[in-house]
């Protein structure tokens, strides 16, 4: 599959998940963020950028469904310089662009590396989708699935590929739990039952420590990637 291993450094670009860039350098770690509409994916990306931008060279790819809202939110919030944020158009099918036909996203990632690289980390944010949407391993090295307490505390129990298999499950907006009648202990127990040893983070971006736990998880992924794991 990896056509470029025998090529010299001036060969055409890598095909998908190759760990090396065409110039022979190690490419950036790619982390996908998926989850239902309104669960806080973009807010989490923004918070991660603020937490990590001083220690890492990073960039963001957004997959808006029919607008550039997510990319524009990140630009407006000035979490990164504009040349480090790019939007992919997904033709009414956000899950297709991150799972079945990843070519537009791969190109966005590679163009960012060419334009502002070398990069340590690229965050790929999916368009809001359903509980079955997961990222292809050809596109990202690890994925975070973001749900929120207001979407119903039965989501972890319902499972689905995102909840069950994501490398990190984030349960967002915990500050809203008392207002929407969500039982955090039940969500934690259901998530544990679905995910066994895979990690789960409960977070509220409106209070301390905010995105700190997710940022720590990202740092651990980066350390493993840098070590060639």
């Amino acid at each position: 599959m990896h056509l470029d291993h025998d090529h010299t450094h001036d060969g055409p670009g890598a095909v998908s998940a190759d760990a090396l860039r065409p110039d022979g350098g190690r490419r950036a770690l790619r982390i996908g963020l998926g989850g239902p509409v309104g669960s806080g994916k973009t807010a989490t990306v923004a918070a991660l950028c603020r937490a990590l931008r001083d220690e890492l060279s990073l960039a963001v790819v957004t997959n808006d469904i029919y607008t550039r809202e997510d990319a524009e939110f990140l630009l407006r919030e000035a979490v990164l310089p504009p040349e480090r944020i790019t939007a992919v158009e997904t033709g009414a099918c956000p899950h297709t662009a991150i799972r079945d036909d990843i070519s537009a996203n791969l190109e966005a990632v590679e163009d960012l590396e060419d334009a502002v690289g070398p990069l340590d980390l690229v965050l790929v944010e999916s368009g809001g989708d359903n509980l079955t949407a997961t990222f292809s391993k050809g596109l990202v090295d690890a994925q975070i699935f973001v749900i929120d307490v207001a979407g119903g505390d039965d989501i972890p129990r319902k499972g689905g590929p995102g909840v069950t298999t994501a490398d990190l499950l984030v349960v967002n907006k915990t500050d809203l739990a008392p207002y929407v009648g969500s039982d955090l202990a039940r969500m934690a127990a259901d998530a544990k039952a679905q995910r066994a040893e895979l990690p789960v983070v409960f977070q509220s971006l409106r209070s301390e420590p905010g995105v700190a736990d997710v940022a720590a998880w990202v740092r651990a992924q980066l350390a493993a990637w840098a070590a060639g794991a």
Partner: protein, 224 residues
């Protein structure tokens, strides 16, 4: 040569980026030119006979081994709209990636080196067919069929059109598609002796204008 390779290349799920493009259908729906199965058929017939026939001839010529750089220039000359040129190169780049992974070939590698940001999609399609062991007729069929299947699929999403009606439109266009392919392959064979000027230059001004308007919309479902 494997005939089954044609099914792989022509499969709408071949991961080459086409799902995000409507082939002009989104602009035509908004302008009221596509409002149901009958007008979808009219739109598709127009696209098949213009952009589709040019794409089919380019793909067939590339499959015959005509210089892809010359074909790419010919494609530019037949694509007045800058937005459509961008879309064609984007799709060409995405198809290049999928084709190289699927049918590794020195010719595809060379074209990727020549056009790192993408050559016109029909040119890449023809070379991909060649790499898959297919011939000019197969390449022309892929290009001609794609020119109508893309808008039909997009219209199902845009208008909630009955998917059986949309598929029926494609089926009824089949004999016409056959004739477009015949003429495209004939033209591509002439290119061998006469050069790229033997390629057809059919044009649909409303497709070009619609693409330019569509590219300026702040909110849209499809990239083109």
């Amino acid at each position: 040569m494997s005939r089954a390779a044609l099914l792989v290349l022509a499969d709408g799920r071949f991961p080459a980026g086409g799902h995000a493009h409507s082939g002009g259908a989104e602009a035509a729906v908004k302008a009221g030119r596509i409002s149901g199965a009958a007008s979808l058929a009219d739109f598709c017939r127009g696209r098949l006979q213009t952009a589709g026939s040019v794409a089919a001839a380019l793909a067939a010529a590339a499959a015959l081994g005509i210089d892809p750089v010359a074909l790419d220039r010919a494609a530019d000359a037949r694509t007045p709209s800058p937005a459509l040129r961008v879309a064609a190169r984007k799709l060409g780049r995405q198809l290049m990636r999928a084709a190289r992974a699927t049918w590794p070939s020195a010719e595809l590698d060379a074209l990727a080196r020549e056009f790192p940001k993408g050559a016109h999609q029909p040119v890449v399609l023809g070379l991909a067919a060649r790499a898959a062991g297919l011939g000019p007729v197969d390449a022309a069929y892929c290009a001609a069929y794609e020119s109508v299947s893309g808008p039909a699929t997009a219209t199902v999403r845009l208008l909630s059109l009955d998917p059986f009606d949309a598929t029926g439109v494609l089926a009824r266009l089949a004999p016409e598609t056959d004739r477009v392919v015949d003429r495209a392959v004939e033209a591509a064979r002439r290119v061998v002796d006469e050069g790229v000027d033997a390629l057809p230059a059919g044009s649909a001004p409303l497709l070009e204008i619609g693409a330019e308007i569509h590219a300026g919309w702040p909110v849209r479902l499809f990239a083109s």
